[in-house]
């Protein structure tokens, strides 16, 4: 992550963008099928919690059926925009030696993955966004954020993506030391499902779990932007959240730098 001329970076990203579009086009059916599965997930949780809300006389912990519809739909969008898959690929990359070509280039491999990720998000967002609107309408979601909440949502979303990307890329570096990282990845995934608000809004989880989710980075990676735009946070809480995100981004950057240096030293010591 040496300083690179910005103009060069933009150029690289544009070239990568074109290449990636070609790639996704080659796999358009796989992509469509994958999207179908992705979209089913919020519907399932939405239905489960709506059923719970009804059986409890309309609301659960301050969430009505319409609130759940808004929560899980927006969660799907935010989760889709922030998730990464690179940590599932690293083991294969390291073992098969596919890391070497990336190391030979005069540019940090992080940029390769970041460009891939951003392109994929832009591409799939064209499907995710209309479907989200459709879901919001179908399930009669109650989503009416005030202007400041929308305004706060944007940096919260960008920070959430930055944080998640940096942390998960750092997690991926474990593959330099361990031959099998699947177990670590699985454990991490479990934490994400529970602590990022995927299964239920964090407010509905036990107090202790909420504290853990807030102390660790998980809440700030997905749930926080969702809560912001749903209007469930006071201006003060939003400000604190943004600060927490920035602190975590700083920590993640430090971890990444350190881990990357050590990882490459390790990679180049044991045989690339």
């Amino acid at each position: 992550m040496r300083g690179l001329p910005l103009r060069q970076l933009v150029d690289v990203y544009r070239a990568k963008f074109r290449a990636e579009i070609a790639l996704q086009f080659a796999y358009r059916w796989a992509l469509a099928i994958w999207l179908l599965g992705l979209l089913l997930q919020p519907i399932v949780y939405l239905v489960v919690w709506t059923t719970v809300a009804r059986s409890q006389g309309g609301t659960v912990g301050g969430f009505s059926a319409r609130d759940f519809a808004a929560y899980f739909t927006i969660f799907m969008v935010v989760n889709q925009l922030t998730f990464t898959w690179h940590y599932w690929e690293f083991e294969w990359r390291v073992r098969q030696g596919f890391f070497s070509p990336l190391l030979l280039r005069p540019i940090h491999p992080l940029h390769n993955d970041l460009a891939e990720n951003v392109t994929f998000k832009l591409l799939t967002f064209t499907v995710v966004a209309p479907v989200a609107v459709l879901l919001l309408v179908t399930f009669n979601a109650s989503l009416n954020p005030s202007p400041w909440q929308v305004l706060a949502f944007l940096p919260a979303l960008v920070f959430a993506f930055a944080l998640r990307f940096l942390l998960e890329w750092t997690l991926a570096l474990a593959a330099f030391w361990l031959t099998r990282v699947t177990a670590i990845n699985q454990a991490y995934y479990l934490a994400v499902v529970f602590l990022s608000g995927q299964m239920a809004p964090l407010e509905l989880l036990p107090e202790a779990v909420q504290v853990i989710a807030a102390v660790l980075p998980f809440r700030w990676m997905v749930a926080f932007p969702v809560e912001t735009v749903l209007g469930r946070l006071s201006p003060m809480e939003v400000a604190v959240g943004l600060a927490a995100q920035l602190i975590w981004i700083g920590l993640a950057l430090g971890l990444l730098r350190f881990g990357w240096r050590a990882g490459v030293r390790r990679y180049s010591a044991v045989g690339a």
Binding site: W29, I33, W34, G37, V44, V52, T182, Q186
Partner: protein, 261 residues
Amino acid sequence: MRSLGLLWLSFRLGALNAIRYRADFMVQLFQSLIGLGIALGGIAVVFSQTDQLGGWRQEELIALIGVFMLVGGLIAVVIRPSMEQLMEGVRLGTLDFTLTKPADAQLLVSVKRVEIWRLVEVVLGAALIVLAMVQLGERVSLERVAAFAVTMLAGMAIVYSFLLILSTLAFWLVRLENILVIFHSMYEAGRWPVGIYPPWLRATLTFVVPVAFAITVPVEALVGRLEPATLVGSLLLAVAFLIASRWFWRLGLRHYTGASA
């Protein structure tokens, strides 16, 4: 009998193969436990806010998760890997080797590959069902267990036929690698009783991607809320699916030989 013999041989081969990769066992165990953790955690979170979900009580949902894992495990052990192998065989032409063997080809391709470590999931699922049955106590009677077994078999037959039909499509549409993912993502919806879903999704899960018959219906039988009509319907549908898939398989096979001759 012959089919059971073949299935057994496949298992033996798969087991011998898998034993050499012991580390995979630990990974699989870990992965299954995480799946279990997510499922049970989800139930715990829901039932911390309510005492019933669409009329289902907590121990009934635990039985449902048990069946979800058991059926999912059985699919993952033999059906899914074999079907993937079949589609690859059609694409690369290696199906020729299977078709020239003196045994029923449908049977052969259906047990072609076994991923033995996924049995972990089957065992966990079965354990969960037993646990739920203990919790349910006196509500479990002999005829309910019998009805459970019958509907479970019917459900497996339906799922197997459905997956075979999907895979047989490969004879016409060669580049189809991902189609089984459709089933996989729909299957995820089976973690919860299909009754809670809105009508269009319920209908999809019952008739288009028949997850309901494989998971919800057997559990209904176990906890004694199965309508006799559903039992009969499940059996009839299983027979219909088996016949249809067999017919479709034959049709596809004709297309295969026709294409490569």
